[in-house]
Subunit: 154 residues, 2 copies
């Protein structure tokens, strides 16, 4: 990645890949202790008896890791202004200690703001995969980006 990315640099169908990042057992336990202390995220025996079949990261931890990978992948080098919410998250497979995660996104839509000529909305589908290539998380949401050339016709 070279120059800073603006709204005009995103178009439907574009894809980009970034990562990887390893998830540690310590990180899984620390996040769960603070934010999601359900036994399947904190205790090996409880986790093995659960739907997850073994110690696994909180889904919110996985989303937070995705956010960090998105930030490092391109948002910190962009005119990104934030997001108003999340359209959908699917936690498809457990994220285990030692998993190596990568992200690929696809731009679903890029549309100018109707009220603010200096920005636009880019809707993404994010897919996070483990080292086996299995998709562990799918997420869809829009991010607001400033335009390189504010005031251009939509």
């Amino acid at each position: 990645m070279t120059g800073k990315l603006y709204f005009e640099d995103f178009a439907a169908g574009d894809t980009m890949s970034y990562g990887s990042r390893i998830v540690t057992r310590e990180e899984i336990l620390a996040f769960a202790a603070e934010y999601d202390p359900q036994p399947m995220h904190l205790d090996d025996a409880a986790a093995e008896a659960s739907l997850l079949g073994g110690l696994s990261a909180s889904g919110w931890h996985t989303c937070s890791i995705l956010m960090r990978m998105i930030a490092d992948g391109f948002v910190l080098n962009s005119s990104g202004m934030g997001a108003g919410g999340i359209d959908e998250v699917k936690w498809l497979r457990p994220v285990r200690p030692g998993d190596v995660l990568s992200v690929r996104h696809t731009v679903l839509e890029a549309r100018s703001s109707k009220t603010k000529p200096d920005r636009g909305f880019v809707r993404f589908r994010f897919e996070m995969t483990n080292a086996k290539g299995e998709v562990v998380l799918e997420q869809t949401n829009s991010i607001i980006f400033g335009r390189r050339n504010p005031g251009e016709a939509a």
Copy 2:
């Protein structure tokens, strides 16, 4: 709250409130440094110049705090088995250092699993409010609960 909650204890229209929890500046900065290092979550000047108008928690931090409040509010005292994803999140207002957050949920739907007679799905709308009563976050998702009496007719 007294006895442990099972699938049968949830019905559409039920509401429940829990909290509160205070959000500290230190916690906002620590979460952002680890998972969402966008300047508006880490730096006062950048935050004031941003859409947020001042230092504010990452939306993912707010979701994680909500998860902890849901866990403490009722899930840890239930037959909750986890969740497969999130239907929608709306980050409606900034969450600031010192904010005191409370949660109210409404049960939208409770339906038996078609394939597993020992469990069912309960769909919730969660609303998180600050001390002024302003809604800062809305979230909709389903949680899987074990049945008190497995095998009952749906």
